[in-house]
Amino acid sequence: MRSSAEASLHLGANTSDGARSVALGAMLLVCAVALGLVESWLLVWSPVPWLRIGLANVAVLVALACIGPRSALAVSLLRVMLVGVATGTLFGPGTVLAVSGAVCALVAMLLVRAAGARFSIIGWSVAGASAHVLGQFLAAALVTGSAAIVSLVPVSVLASLFLGIATGLIARPVISRVMPAV
């Protein structure tokens, strides 16, 4: 969680604010891991097995909006690592997919965020969800060496639009309550 401390120092915040950011970042990381686990249980009933709801992205969205990009990156990547350690799949092909998706999602959300007030949190979330799908499928195509997987991308991206809107709607009230505390 060093990076969240760095993020707030970078913003010129005082030590107390830095500590708050670290605490909030750590809390969001725990939320991200928990949401990811809940999602993996829900996955059993999913009609489309490879499609994920992206609940963990709620925590990343809150980190990005309330603390900053470095915290969001830390929450996102550390979540992947912790889930990898917990499930014993760290550094396997699944981790490659997850990291690729997470990085693409964060880059897309940063780009949309840079556009300022033109996009709300829903826009960030939708951009992140679509980019996550793209990153994950490109990594899957590379890992399996099969370009045929890419044919699943359009339908998954369409689904991610709805899921992105949904996670954005969940994140928005959380952000409006957490923001005053930072």
């Binding site: 059993v44 709300s120 991308v153 809107i165």
Partner: protein
């Protein structure tokens, strides 16, 4: 509230995704839809959907069992942790893809240009 930018973003992504469906389908067409191509780290195996058969493919973290029965092909067993491939179910001659990413194994039924939307969402 959503902004105008949000709505435009959603619309643009949706249009690009819809337009990409025929493009990607055309790029991967030209294969025989009566056959399933099983690709693993060790190589490719072509299965005829008309002949019931079960094969074991060596994956990256263990064996993947692929079964052809009644004109459909499916992954019946895999050593992967998430079992997405097993839950993906069976593919028939309409085409589609089942992938076991942890094992690096894919099952593809060809002629993807002919298939409908519901065949992709398997």
């Amino acid at each position: 509230m959503t902004t105008r930018g949000d709505r435009i973003l959603v619309l643009v992504i949706a249009i690009v995704a819809v337009l990409a469906i025929p493009v990607l389908a055309a790029a991967s067409s030209g294969q025989d839809s009566s056959q399933a191509v099983v690709t693993g780290p060790a190589g490719r195996t072509v299965l005829d959907l008309g002949v019931d058969r079960t094969i074991v493919v060596q994956g990256l973290c263990g064996d993947v069992v692929v079964e052809v029965s009644n004109g459909t092909v499916r992954v019946v067993e895999s050593t992967c942790p998430d079992k997405v491939c097993v839950r993906s179910g069976a593919l028939d001659s309409h085409g589609g893809v089942v992938a076991c990413v942890p094992n690096g194994v894919t099952v593809v039924v060809g002629a993807e240009g002919e298939r409908g939307l519901d065949a992709i969402v398997r």
